[in-house]
Symmetry: C2
Subunit: 360 residues, 2 copies
């Protein structure tokens, strides 16, 4: 009665048609780097997902899709969360799951209205852990002014999963006249960051590896929809917004430079890097430009709007340390460079994988 199981034979992707000289870095298997938000993630999306789901909205490769439905202009986005550990200084996977999606929507200029939430639980995880995460998620949603309206729970066998994986998807309205997307960066535009960079990644690293850096580093995980609303109140024509999560500021700016076909030049001494992050990075051999943030945004605006936007950001609790860090230039399109104190420049490339895996 018992017969061998024959599974359908999954067709190998046709590597020969891929334009990348090292398609998926020649790995026939998934490696951690495919989830790192860097070049390998990009190749997976470009060569595998876009052809499979191919449509113009997805191919825009923005943090959230902007679409029309029933006369409403909506942003729609999703993120899965596999952070380890589940609880870290400054938050938990529950906070991340809300703020990650609220922020992806905000990067289209949308105010998040509704979230879905899918739990994948590991058999054996304490219900008290699930309860704490659900409470964090509920509190973060209330704080961000968004409502969790639909959900789903699955359980996988003990040893699989890591306690709790989460997914959220979110929808929100994009105000009329708002057109924020990476393709809109133009030479002459100013690059602004909303505050100190590299904090979330180092906070996760410190608790995961049990490393202390003198002062405790607390994640900056926060919802950015209020800050974006404050910015749009003074400047409706913000060109680009991006929250530099996986892969950090460097990866986000590279994506923008490539999408818009502009060069980006950063001024190294203007990068707001807190001393604890600088010390930790120096100790660990990391570059703060590549470390993940969860409550920061990059804005690219026309030069004549920069002062007003910066003032509005600094007046907001999440933008007190906002600073201009560079500009878009006509030279070296698609490339990001940073100018050092000595006047030299170095290329800030997209990382292949991720320095700190599983930080969100």
């Amino acid at each position: 009665m018992v017969e061998p199981v024959t599974l359908p034979d999954p067709t190998m992707p046709d590597f020969s048609g891929w334009t990348c000289p090292l398609p998926l870095r020649d790995h026939p298997n998934v490696v951690m780097g495919h989830g790192g938000g860097g070049q390998m993630s990009g190749e997976l999306i470009e060569h595998l997902f876009v052809p499979a789901f191919g449509n113009p909205v997805l191919a825009g490769l923005t943090d959230s899709a902007v679409l029309e439905l029933g006369g409403a202009r909506l942003a729609f986005s999703t993120d899965s969360f596999v952070v380890q550990p589940l609880f870290f200084p400054g938050g938990s996977i529950g906070h991340l799951a809300v703020n990650g999606t609220v922020n992806d929507l905000a990067m289209s200029g949308a105010q998040a209205s509704y979230l879905s939430c899918g739990f994948i639980l590991e058999e054996g995880v304490e219900l008290s852990v699930v309860a704490q995460i659900a409470a964090d998620l509920g509190a973060a949603a209330e704080h961000a002014g968004v409502t969790v309206v639909t959900g789903d729970t699955k359980v996988v066998d003990a040893g699989h999963g890591d306690g709790v994986y989460l997914n959220t998807a979110g929808i929100g309205l994009v105000p009329d006249g708002i057109d924020i997307r990476p393709q809109r960066a133009r030479p002459g535009d100013v690059v602004i960051v909303s505050g100190l960079i590299g904090v979330h990644g180092i906070a996760i690293m410190s608790v995961r590896e049990g490393i202390s850096f003198g002062t405790e580093v607390v994640s900056d995980c926060a919802p950015l929809n209020g800050l974006v609303a404050a910015m749009l109140a003074v400047a409706r024509d913000v060109h680009v917004l991006r929250d530099p999560t996986r892969g950090g500021v460097a990866t986000s700016l590279n994506e923008i430079a490539k999408a818009a076909g502009v060069g980006i030049e950063l001024i190294e001494r203007d990068l707001p890097i807190p001393e604890t992050v600088a010390n930790a990075c120096s100790f660990l051999g990391l570059d703060p430009l590549y470390v993940a943030n969860e409550g920061k945004l990059l804005a690219i605006v026309a030069r004549d709007e920069a002062e007003e936007v910066l003032a509005a950001m600094r007046a907001h609790p999440l933008g007190g340390d906002a600073a201009v860090i560079g500009e878009c230039v006509p030279a070296h399109p698609g490339m990001v460079v940073t100018r050092t104190a000595f006047g030299a420049t170095r290329v800030v490339d997209t990382p292949i994988g991720e320095q700190l895996p599983r930080i969100c």
Copy 2:
């Protein structure tokens, strides 16, 4: 420099305030049954998630939330997919991920327009497997007339995950005047099922356990939005729709009976159970009423609309075997019974957990 990690102390849920006499079945840890769609899933939602996210939309406990945004009346739903194996006769996790969410939306009368898709990949899984699943997902989306517009990919360490977990969320428009929800079942209403039951669960079981039942059982996984549109074209006032996935027909009807405060009486001989499913269930000691379906729906309609709805269903490729299987009654509110060929009745209770874990 290395210090012990102190995690936040997750508060235990306050079991004392719970109304259920056996809250979460007294397990302080997650067990497989919490993901089975039965009583334990219900307790997790009622006692843990609804209080954490508490809001009237979520508390409706429908397959999809119906809400208003920018003047549009939208349905919004999410599902995670952890099925094992990833490929099975009649489909794959990619097909399930599309049809599961399309069908959840359809159960509110909505036509799915857009999907999000989150992949959680296990380090080491073959890219060819990911490619095949993405291709299946894209093909299923095209077949269902829905567009995947936004996505996310995370990678977890080898040994965690099970190759691929998926999450989809979906949005769609609910036509004006449509009000389909479990609470609307009324005594006298007729219960219709769209076709043969128990097929998906047995298909998964056969391939997972390597058991053959003579004829191969092929999953019925299919998008039901077209069938629902055909039904609504002849009867706008369908009271309830439900796709009996996890926990099968029995669980879905129990949820409806409880939500509406009606009794439901099934006629055992009218249940359309294919012989292969009946044989497999008999061999495995399962009850077909509790086995999952992925391309079937239950409809509850007023008696005077039943004939027309049934005719519309039978004229559709996915409703050829549609049949009346019972009715809503004023007796035993909240309870489902089945009447046997000998005139006796037996109670069809909600299962505690799930007979066949991880079928979706």
